[in-house]
């Protein structure tokens, strides 16, 4: 089984390499190769998941040695790993297939599909890794492939800037993560997850709280949580399938997965903080999504908000629920992103929802599957999101009321902005010529939509999950089932989505080219539109504080290091050489004279006359 895992991990890297070396000019072959690779990954992942021999597969070997310290390379395939492996392989495969249609007429297909393969490699690495340093290596690799793929349309300033922003903001979080890893090694003496699980004790100290908060920095950066959330909405400048794969279903969820992998390290205080921040993010992103016009940005903010739910679930001590929501979210969010991709493709890359309208009649399959996604994320009863989100809400209701209030408000907002998106884009009259000319796409694009739609409906029934996939979820979900106030939560959850549906129906069913909220509640609209000025604050910080500080450092560097120390010592040597050059006349008599002087000086010195 280890060989299968190794094969699965390195196959996409090989495919990317072949694409890079031989297929740079040949788009069709490169895309076929990449899709076949992802299909092979899916098959190998399934065989790993349904391997009956081992409950938990742990394997490792020496990667390299530095003196007495060695770095291990290994796999830890346990229950959460299996579930994420399934999500990554399955959603990854569907998105590869979708990309065949979506990127069919793109001139840089080899670069795109090569990037996807590198992404699959790094994401599988994170999923399988059994120690923190290996996770960190692949962590950086997903960051790199995300950068590569956001910058696919690098000729536009928007996506070039967005890719840099994503990379740099992620680096900030990763720096904390790296320090956290070093601190972990310092405190526990190992970075292996299994050994850490044995060593970790639950007596919180300053070191252990700092340590897990630092490790959580990695999660904050990668999952775009407050205060590093600014990169994700901008990352939508990349191709839509990339947004679906990386910025909705898998990579941003890797942050949550990291938390689940190391949940034994977390202290009570750190968990409380993460829960509260997550809930706050759920609400904040909801307000932002409410006023966006760009279909992908709405979905991006909704991803932020759902990641907040996962963080909140984790923070309240229910990693199983977090992983459950991660799984259902991966299905319905990938579905909606691919749906938006289908719409964008049909409307010639128009992304403003107020220029759509009436698409349901023109693209029925996309509209129906999109509606399923909307139902799932809003928590409409018996769709997948209903189960995962209401489990989190119920848990919060029983254990942490402030978090529950934030999450519940977020749930209402979620259904409002999701139904708004649906009504504005798919119902009413078409408001642009592109929308009027839109046609349903080919089976390459609708096929993945249908499959994801089915999963979005049934993904919530965890009892139909095979035992290999569902075992990690079962513990937390059975606790959640036994909690009191179950019926009450069903009623509350239903109220949340019905309120959202009715509000959106009344407000957005007959819109023109502008948002009704901007006239109805201008002050509120402005505040939401400003996104609480995070970008402006960061820009202010960088241009007014950080930049001058750097320039100050630069001047100091010029003055002291390169001025005084480097140039100074060189200048001293030059001065000495100029002085000694004066003695160099080239005439024999001068030298003879110096020789005499030297001899006399030496004689005087050796006779000891000077000392007396």
């Amino acid at each position: 089984m280890v060989s299968v895992a190794l094969c699965m991990l390195f196959l996409p890297l090989l495919s990317a390499l072949v694409t890079l070396l031989f297929l740079r000019k040949n788009g069709s072959f490169a895309s076929l190769l990449s899709v076949c690779t992802s299909g092979a990954i899916l098959i190998m992942a399934l065989s790993l998941i349904f391997d009956r021999n081992a409950d938990t597969l742990a394997w490792d070997t020496t990667w390299f040695q530095l003196g007495g310290w060695e770095l291990r390379f290994g796999f830890l395939i346990d229950a959460p790993c299996r579930l994420l492996l399934f999500v990554v392989a399955f959603v990854g495969f569907l998105i590869h297939v979708f990309s065949l249609g979506y990127m069919g007429d793109d001139s840089a297909r080899p670069r795109y599909f090569g990037g996807l393969s590198i992404f699959m490699f790094s994401m599988l690495g994170i999923t399988l890794a059994d120690n923190l340093i290996m996770i960190f290596v692949f962590w950086e690799l997903v960051g790199f492939s995300s950068y590569l793929l956001i910058a696919h349309y690098f000729k536009t300033d928007e996506s070039a800037n967005a890719s840099r922003k994503a990379f740099i903001v992620n680096r900030i979080g990763d720096f904390g993560f790296l320090i956290g890893i070093i601190l972990t090694y310092w405190v526990y003496g190992t970075v292996n997850l299994n050994e850490l699980a044995d060593l970790a004790d639950f007596s919180p100290s300053l070191a252990t709280t700092t340590l897990c908060l630092l490790l959580a920095c990695g999660f904050i950066g990668k999952s775009a949580q407050f205060p590093l959330h600014v990169w994700l909405p901008d990352a939508m400048a990349g191709p839509t399938p990339v947004s679906a794969l990386i910025h909705a279903a898998t990579m941003v969820a890797a942050g949550v997965y990291l938390l689940i992998r190391i949940d034994f390290l977390f202290t009570e205080d750190a968990l409380g903080l993460i829960a509260f921040m997550g809930a706050l993010m759920g609400l904040y992103a909801g307000f932002c999504a409410l006023v966006q016009r760009d279909i992908k940005k709405i979905l991006a903010y909704s991803t932020l908000s759902q990641l907040g739910y996962m963080a909140a679930a984790f923070g309240m001590g229910a990693p199983g629920l977090a992983l459950f929501h991660l799984t259902t979210h991966a299905f319905f969010k990938a579905l909606m992103f691919l749906g938006s991709g289908s719409v964008i493709y049909a409307c010639h890359h128009e992304q403003d929802i107020f220029k759509y309208g009436g698409l349901r009649k023109r693209m029925p399959l996309t509209a129906i599957t999109f509606l399923i996604g909307v139902f799932a994320i809003s928590g409409v009863n018996f769709f997948s999101g209903y189960f995962s989100k209401d489990a989190i809400l119920l848990w919060a209701y029983n254990f942490n009321l402030p978090v529950f209030i934030l999450l519940y408000a977020g749930a209402i907002l979620t259904s409002i902005y999701m139904f708004r998106l649906y009504f504005v884009s798919f119902e009413g009259e078409s408001r642009s010529e592109y929308a009027q000319g839109a046609k349903e796409n080919s089976i390459l694009m609708t096929g993945p939509l249908i499959l994801l739609g089915i999963l979005s409906i049934f993904g919530g029934y965890f009892s139909i999950y095979p035992i290999e996939l569902g075992s990690f979820l079962r513990a937390d979900l059975s606790i959640s089932d036994a909690l009191p106030n179950h019926m009450w939560m069903v009623v509350l959850g239903t109220i949340a989505w019905v309120v959202g549906l009715l509000f959106s129906r009344l407000t957005y069913s007959r819109v023109s080219n502008s948002d009704p909220l901007s006239k109805g509640l201008p002050a509120f609209f402005e505040i939401c539109q400003s996104r609480l000025f995070f970008d402006e604050i960061y820009h202010f910080f960088i241009s007014k504080i950080y930049d001058p500080f750097c320039r100050f450092l630069e001047v100091m560097e010029l003055l002291f290091i390169s001025g005084l120390m480097v140039r100074g010592s060189a200048g001293l040597a030059a001065l000495l050489s100029m002085l000694s050059k004066l003695c160099y006349s080239g005439r024999m008599h001068t030298y003879v004279f110096w020789f005499l002087l030297g001899t006399v000086g030496f004689l005087i010195y050796s006779s000891g006359l000077i000392n007396q």
Partner: protein, 102 residues
């Protein structure tokens, strides 16, 4: 009556070395400079023989043989160089041989 003591020999040796050195400094002709060098070496030889005599051993005398050998070899090489230089530059003045400067 004036007796000749080792001091007189040493004074003679210093004078010879001094004359040779002054010659080396003042003369511009390389042939004469070589001769001045020989003068200095011979001055040193006298000092060494004096020490040998005073110390009643052969160390200094043996050393003198070495110096004479070296001096002979040096003169041979020096003169050969000088002849070669003269063929090339048509001059034996040391002032014309400052080409290495700059």
């Amino acid at each position: 009556m004036l007796t000749i003591t080792p001091y007189h020999f040493l004074i003679l040796s210093i004078l010879l070395v001094g004359v040779g050195f002054l010659g080396l400094l003042i003369r511009r002709n390389i042939l004469l400079m070589l001769m001045s060098l020989e003068l200095m070496l011979n001055g040193i030889n006298i000092a060494l023989i004096t020490f040998s005599r005073v110390g009643n051993n052969l160390d200094g005398s043996i050393f003198v043989f070495f110096i004479m050998t070296v001096a002979a070899a040096e003169v041979a090489v020096g003169l050969a160089l000088l002849v070669a230089l003269f063929k090339k530059r048509k001059s034996v003045l040391s002032d014309d041989m400052a080409l290495l400067k700059n």
